[in-house]
């Protein structure tokens, strides 16, 4: 006799109602797509550890002042007593101690731990906002192009091609450098101006990537039966777009956003490294790295900001990958 159900605690001779009520005696409820995906994600240990790291980083960034008060010194405070006045290198090589967890910067003696922690604020803020901007523009443009087709699609698609062909890094360098000179006209200054500019430049030029994906998905979705059904019931363009099609795009948008964030973290670091990011003395990871290059003989200075970028990017990527697998099990790895 074969045993089609070999669940522990259940028997082959179980009465029909037991099957209906489930092994534990509760009624089986229909599970939504979201719940199914969540269950899948929960089982993916790699993705979950990525998610925990991401949450941890976000908490650290939000509570940076508290973290620094507990474990460090103010990020701008000089500790020149920690520095060898002759060689400008921290006494003892790195200055790592229970008081200075990551050691101190050469020359100034500022607490590297605090600077890395505060650097996470800028990095994550810019990465999140820029991603949001890209996703917003990309989704709107993609959905419009895909749904309406024809000349609208043609124009938007060519626009995407133009944006994709841009030498983004070079352009961003020039743009941030130039725009930052117009403090008075723009009405903001200092760090907030730089942050706004970086969000704009990084976000605005990255939308075509997500735009293309959304356009492709929309193209296939608009031919589906449920869209036809809605249309035959008299639904119009905007309703179909936002009520019928958009909810089906949430999965790719989410996945793409989590994969875009680490890219943007790297891009912000690159811009700061090249000197157009948020200006001194506000710490950023890229800025710390570019300082560290001068002192390559004291490796701790490069190690900690570098590790911060590495861990952030890795965690987001692992989480993003897992999320994609969970939301779309058919996709091949």
């Amino acid at each position: 006799m074969s045993a089609p159900l070999d669940v522990p605690g259940s028997t082959a001779e179980a009465p029909p109602e037991a099957v209906l009520e489930g092994a534990s005696g509760k009624a089986i409820q229909g599970r939504s797509l979201g719940q199914i995906a969540w269950n899948r994600l929960k089982r993916d240990k790699v993705a979950m550890s990525g998610a925990f790291v991401v949450i941890f980083l976000i908490l650290v960034a939000i509570f940076a002042p508290v973290v620094v008060r507990l474990f460090g010194h103010p990020p701008l405070e000089y500790h020149q007593e920690m520095i060898d006045p002759v060689t400008q290198i921290p006494k003892g090589g790195s200055g790592i101690s229970t008081e200075f967890l990551f050691g101190v910067e050469p020359q100034t003696g500022r607490d590297l731990f605090s600077r890395v922690v505060y650097g996470s604020r800028i990095s994550l803020l810019i990465a999140f906002c820029a991603t949001l901007l890209s996703v917003l523009i990309g989704t709107i443009m993609g959905i419009v192009a895909g749904y309406f087709g024809g000349w609208v699609d043609y124009i938007i698609s060519r626009l995407m091609d133009v944006f994709l062909a841009f030498p983004l890094l070079v352009f961003a360098l020039a743009l941030v450098g130039v725009l930052a000179q117009f403090e008075q006209q723009l009405g903001v200054k200092g760090d907030s101006l730089r942050i706004a500019l970086l969000i704009f430049v990084i976000g605005f030029f990255n939308w075509p990537y997500i735009g293309r994906i959304i356009r492709g998905q929309t193209l296939s979705l608009r031919e589906r039966e449920f869209v036809d059904a809605a249309r035959s019931l008299g639904a119009r363009g905007p309703y179909i777009l936002f009520r019928e099609i958009l909810p089906n795009l949430i999965a790719p948008i989410l996945v793409y956003a989590t994969l875009l964030i680490p890219q943007n973290v790297l891009f912000e670091a690159a811009l700061s490294f090249l000197g157009v990011g948020v200006q001194a003395p506000t710490p950023t990871w890229g800025g710390l790295l570019s300082e560290a290059v001068k002192y390559y003989t004291v490796p701790h200075f490069m190690f900690f900001p570098g590790m911060a970028i590495f861990i952030t990017v890795l965690a987001f990527n692992l989480f993003g990958d897992g999320l994609r697998d969970a939301l779309d099990p058919k996709s091949s790895r």
């Binding site: 002759v86 060689t87 290198i89 000197g275 003395p281 390559y296």
Partner: protein
């Protein structure tokens, strides 16, 4: 033996030579056995006051490198100290600085001229006589007309924007003379006369006792008129010195070989030891330091000291430390305090900034005691003739009580807010701004930092009075080095308010009729000691009025080459002398 083989290889191919010079480096010091064994040993600062490893041995390839490039190799278009030092291997000015260590290196000696200038007409007219038998690299004799042409062409600041403007300001030029290219036919004899092929006479607008310093400028290096190609002359300047250009690859490499028409009998100051010079441009700065340390290259041409990474290495390793020379330069790094910007128009507010500044931390920003320099108490550096120590302000980590007192007197007891400009691509100046921001915050003075690109810092931003005023930039930071080591050579360009132009100013903060009056007195004074005293008074006044916050009198950590001879730091440029260095 080693050196011989290295030589043979250089003759075969320059490319191969790179790898081999490292071998030549190691055996350098002991192979110097015979003759002058009294040579200084490798100890720190051995080449400051003495010639290290003296020798007359000819031959070899001297390898130099620089991390960037400098303005130009055209003698009429260059304002870099390293260039004024190096240019003398291929060009001969009328007079030049004595190739000797330390302060002796600041003495002027005749070069192309037979003797130093002869003044007449109360110092308004200066006459020089050229040596006999001097020739260009193509064998044509050098005449006083070539010197005159060279000086006149350098006056054209549209074609040659980089050089100093002393001749423009002092020569008694005819009104209708614009440049040798625009107005070639105008008679300029009222400014420079050439009565015969060996005599040249300069006529000035007003008397000037220090004219020999002008005659030592690279723009008196003769240029043959028929070979002058304007801006293209830099592709091959015609040599009058012992070496001539073999190849000129702009931004990459220069090579120089012996000039067959240079006659040692006409030149008592040059030893002309190497057979060849190879100068590499655009070498990564950290890589350059490592190659000098390993002996693969002889000199970092820039002469401004090693990068922070190498600094930690050479100062902490006792063996490398022996190879360090640590000269003090005639250069001050400072922070101008702009009186045009409120509330800095009040002297007490300016003083508050000086009192509150952490001078030690500023010194650290420039690299500390060895790589940065001594904490400066005045604008004028100690190597300038007539220098006096000024003790108006404390030089410790800041006197907050006095700063608060000054703020109260200024009517800003709770501090104020202002902006500080710095060159964003210069790490030391960025560190300076950050340090000052920290220390001034202690008394409630809030600094907003603004970085500007180096290339436009003086022309569009901090050197432009209208920009500074409109944007309320109260502080900036930069440095100034002497063109030569007297009060005029250091102070005249940065303290005289009447030299302030629409843009491109190095002086933005020192504006005082009293100081201008002192400068006039100094220029008219013919007695050198009294003149020096007047310049010292200018320095005192600048500090009393708190127009600048001086940071350091610059020092640099130079790494002495292992494979070179006649190594010494010349007091004229405060870097290794490039005129008589040879290959061991």
């Amino acid at each position: 033996m080693k050196k011989k083989s290295a030589l043979a290889v250089t003759a075969v191919g320059a490319a191969l030579a790179l790898g081999l010079s490292a071998c030549g480096g190691g055996g350098a010091s002991q192979s110097q056995g015979g003759g002058e064994s009294a040579a200084a040993k490798h100890t720190m600062n051995a080449a400051l006051e003495n010639v290290f490893n003296p020798s007359d041995k000819k031959g070899g390839t001297l390898k130099m490198a620089i991390s960037e490039d400098w303005d130009s190799i055209d003698p009429g278009d260059t304002y870099y100290a390293l260039s004024w030092n190096l240019i003398r291997i291929y060009g001969r000015p009328l007079v030049t600085y004595n190739p000797a260590p330390g302060a002796k290196g600041r003495e002027l000696v005749p070069d192309l001229a037979e003797s130093l200038g002869t003044p007449s007409d109360d110092g308004k007219t200066w006459t020089y006589k050229l040596r006999e038998g001097v020739k260009f690299e193509d064998g044509t004799p050098i005449t006083s007309k070539d010197v005159k042409y060279a000086v006149l062409r350098s006056l054209d600041k549209k074609t040659f924007p980089n050089g100093p403007t002393y001749f423009n300001d002092w020569l008694d030029l005819p009104k209708d003379f614009k440049s040798v290219y625009e107005t070639p036919d105008v008679n300029t004899d009222q400014a420079i006369e050439t009565p015969d092929d060996r005599t040249i006479v300069f006529h000035l607008k007003k008397p000037f006792g220090g004219f020999d310093n002008f005659a030592a400028l690279p723009s008196t290096i003769p240029v043959p008129k028929d070979k002058d190609t304007g801006t293209k002359y830099r592709e091959h300047p015609i040599a009058s010195g012992p070496y001539m250009f073999e190849t000129v690859q702009t931004g990459k490499q220069y090579t120089l070989v012996r000039n067959p028409h240079w006659d040692p009998a006409t030149d008592p100051i040059r030893k002309a030891l190497p057979d060849r010079y190879e100068i590499y441009l655009g070498v990564n700065a950290d890589d350059l330091d490592n190659r000098v340390i390993s002996g693969d290259l002889h000199v970092d041409l820039a002469g401004t000291g090693v990068q922070p990474a190498a600094l930690g290495r050479v100062l902490s390793d006792p063996q490398l430390k022996e190879r360090v020379d640590n000269p003090t330069g005639a250069r001050t790094w400072y922070i101008p305090i702009v009186p045009d910007v409120k509330p800095l128009d009040n002297v007490e507010c300016r003083k508050a900034i000086i009192y509150a500044a952490d001078r030690v931390s500023l010194q650290q920003a420039y690299g500390g005691e060895f790589a940065g320099g001594e904490i400066a108490t005045g604008l004028m550096p100690p190597s300038i003739d007539g220098w006096k120590r000024i003790d108006l302000y404390p030089t410790g980590t800041g006197d907050l009580e006095k700063a608060k007192e000054a703020l109260a007197k200024c009517g800003q007891p709770n501090g104020f807010e202002t902006t500080m400009a710095y060159r964003s691509d210069r790490p030391k100046e960025k560190a300076t701004a950050e340090s000052l921001q920290q220390s001034l915050a202690r008394v409630g003075i809030k600094l907003n930092l603004k970085g500007y690109p180096t290339s436009d810092y003086f022309t569009l931003y901090f050197g432009k009075p209208s920009f500074v005023k409109e944007n309320g930039i109260g502080l900036g930071t930069h440095g100034w080095g002497a063109d030569w080591n007297d009060g005029f050579g250091f102070m005249s360009q940065i303290t005289d308010s009447r030299t302030i132009r629409e843009s491109g100013n190095y002086n933005i903060s020192i504006k005082s009729p009293e100081i201008d009056k002192l400068i006039d007195q100094a220029n008219e004074e013919t007695d050198k000691a009294k003149r020096d005293e007047l310049w010292a008074q200018v320095d005192y006044k600048v500090m009393e009025e708190a127009f600048v916050l001086p940071i350091v009198w610059s020092k640099s950590v130079l790494v002495r080459p292992t494979g070179a001879t006649n190594v010494f730091v010349t007091g004229a440029f405060d870097m290794y002398d490039y005129l008589n260095m040879g290959v061991a």
